[in-house]
């Protein structure tokens, strides 16, 4: 267990009657970047809150950097940096003052805090704004400062809880490039996200969380292999029976959307395989409007594993 940065076994957590985590098992190796991927309400934030000592687990073992979160929360706290969903920065202070304050609270000396703070301002492209009050910052700048604050004490483990949720595309790109620098260092990162693209781009390994359990894990390509090499996507013409089309195809890892009249199936991508599908449709006299082949996205993976869309919003606000 010592060579693991994070080790979670059989973690359970309920809020009143709502069971959020139902026996979660997860291990993150040192230096690894793990994306915890799941829809709203899957339990991502609850997991991060337990890992960062904000919440007590109901049962199960949670060890961070060799410290048990229940028995030695201070050991955990000295080992981690946390960037939450909300940019938790002090509005009335400047970036530098925020950094110094956090450095002091991580028990760095004042000189160390300022030195490290200056490095982070450069790294996160905040030098020009360093002495402006945070109140005047844009959303993207706040997020970058927020991340910088969690790195002030160079913790070996960093939790990024939905670091780009709610950012515009440009700020998201900027945030990604900042996180990529962090990924390149030997910091262990646990990233939660509901964006498949984000997990794909940043993480070494992805764990898919749904309904309080890890339902799959592996590298992005391992997960993609589960849904076939190439996916064939068919749009069924109005007038032809959509239900019948589903019946006729009956392929592997099929997904369908009746509203958009789209069916997609896994194929090896060979012409003969595609032809076979099309022949079957033709003999059932189902007309096809469009046809496309694409590499599976993590969206396909998610849909395949959970039976619902990754972006699906559950109205569970506690997790």
């Amino acid at each position: 267990m010592q060579d693991h940065a994070i080790h979670i076994s059989n973690l359970k957590k309920s809020y009143k009657n709502l069971e959020v985590l139902k026996g979660l098992d997860l291990t993150v190796k040192r230096g690894e970047v793990l994306a915890l991927l799941g829809p709203n309400g899957a339990g991502k934030t609850t997991t991060v809150r337990i890992l960062s000592t904000l919440l007590q687990p109901d049962s199960g073992d949670v060890v961070v950097n060799g410290y048990n979160v229940v028995e030695n929360p201070d050991g955990v706290r000295a080992s981690i940096g946390l960037t939450g969903q909300y940019a938790a920065v002090d509005e009335y202070l400047t970036a530098m003052e925020n950094l110094e304050m956090m450095g002091r609270l991580y028990h760095l000396s004042k000189a160390e805090s300022i030195k490290r703070g200056n490095e982070l301002l450069v790294q996160f492209d905040l030098v020009e704004a360093a002495n402006r009050v945070v109140k005047t910052y844009s959303g993207g700048m706040r997020r970058r400062l927020d991340l910088a604050l969690s790195l002030i004490a160079t913790p070996p483990i960093v939790f990024l809880d939905e670091p780009t949720t709610g950012l515009d595309p440009r700020s998201r790109m900027a945030m990604w490039s900042v996180i990529e620098q962090l990924v390149a260092s030997d910091t262990t990162i646990l990233l939660t996200t509901q964006y498949l693209e984000e997990a794909d781009k940043l993480a070494d390994r992805i764990a898919v969380l749904d309904g309080g359990r890890i339902i799959a894990q592996g590298t992005a390509s391992e997960l993609k292999d589960r849904v076939g090499k190439e996916r064939l996507e068919l749009t069924i013409k109005e007038g032809s029976s959509f239900e019948k089309a589903i019946e006729v195809i009956d392929g592997e890892a099929m997904q369908h959307d009746a509203q958009k009249r789209v069916i997609s199936v896994a194929t090896g991508g060979t012409v003969s395989e595609i032809k076979r599908v099309l022949d079957r449709m033709e003999s059932a006299s189902i007309e096809i409007e469009t046809l496309s082949l694409h590499k599976p996205t993590l969206d396909d993976v998610f849909l395949q594993l959970t039976g619902h869309q990754a972006e699906q919003k559950n109205d569970d606000t506690t997790a």
Binding site: Q2, R30, R49, S52, T53, L54, L55, N65, G66, D74, R77, A78, S79, I80, L82, G84, Q85, Y86, A87, A88, V89, D90, E91, Y92, L93, E97, M101, M102, R104, L105, Y106, H107, L108, S109, E112, V133, L149, A153, T154, P155, P156, T318
Partner: protein, 267 residues
Amino acid sequence: MTQPHNTMTTHSSLYWLCSDLWVFIKRSLSHIFKNPDQILGLTVQPIMFMVLFRYVFGGAIQTGSVSYIDFLLAGILVQCIAFGSMTTSLSVAVDLQRGIIERFKTLPAAGWGVLMGHVTADLVRNVIQCVIMVLVGLLVGFRPTATPVEWLAILGVILLFTFAMSWVAAILGLLAKSIEAVQWMGFFLVFPLTFASAAFAPTETMAKYLRIFAENQPITHVIETIRSLMIGTPMGNHWWITVIWCVAITIVAIPTAAILFRKYSGR
């Protein structure tokens, strides 16, 4: 196990506790001076209150042998302090809403120090406000008889009362579900307590039950203590009842706030 190389263990835990508290106090104090709205409220509000009561209501209220402005000053001072102490509830609620308190709780520091910081800021803010009020009072006819020692005693009462009230405010801030809620919670606590008191009119003129309440609630004792020290009205039991109230409130409020702070687990 990778040791976080930052954690310096060369200092005692008491050293770090003091260091943490100081960081939080410095933070809250800097909020006073970096927030223009607060500075405005800090200076303009007491002046408005003073002038309003002195010139608008003052003529209609009988205070016997004492001039109304001399009678009023202690009352209005205590009301301002009571409202001022509620700033902590707002500061705590804002910190909670922004997720700053959560962040502090994940640090290897004494996170509850954030409450201590806000309470300390209230102490400083209230003293500044009191000084402004007394100075404005002097301009509109307030003539205190207090000796320097009595002024020091007044300062002591102000600090003691603020400290107690601010910890109560910290509890309200931790309990409030929203920033709007915290504003009316403080208002509903302080408004009746300060108006149903000896702040603006002698209690003798009040209806029976109101009078019983007004004469026995803590704020009246605080007011009468300060009034006696300022202009020499009879002290009686007021000073020690004031001290007992303030100490009792503080003794109950601090652990309550600490427990709520520990238990708080997110929106």
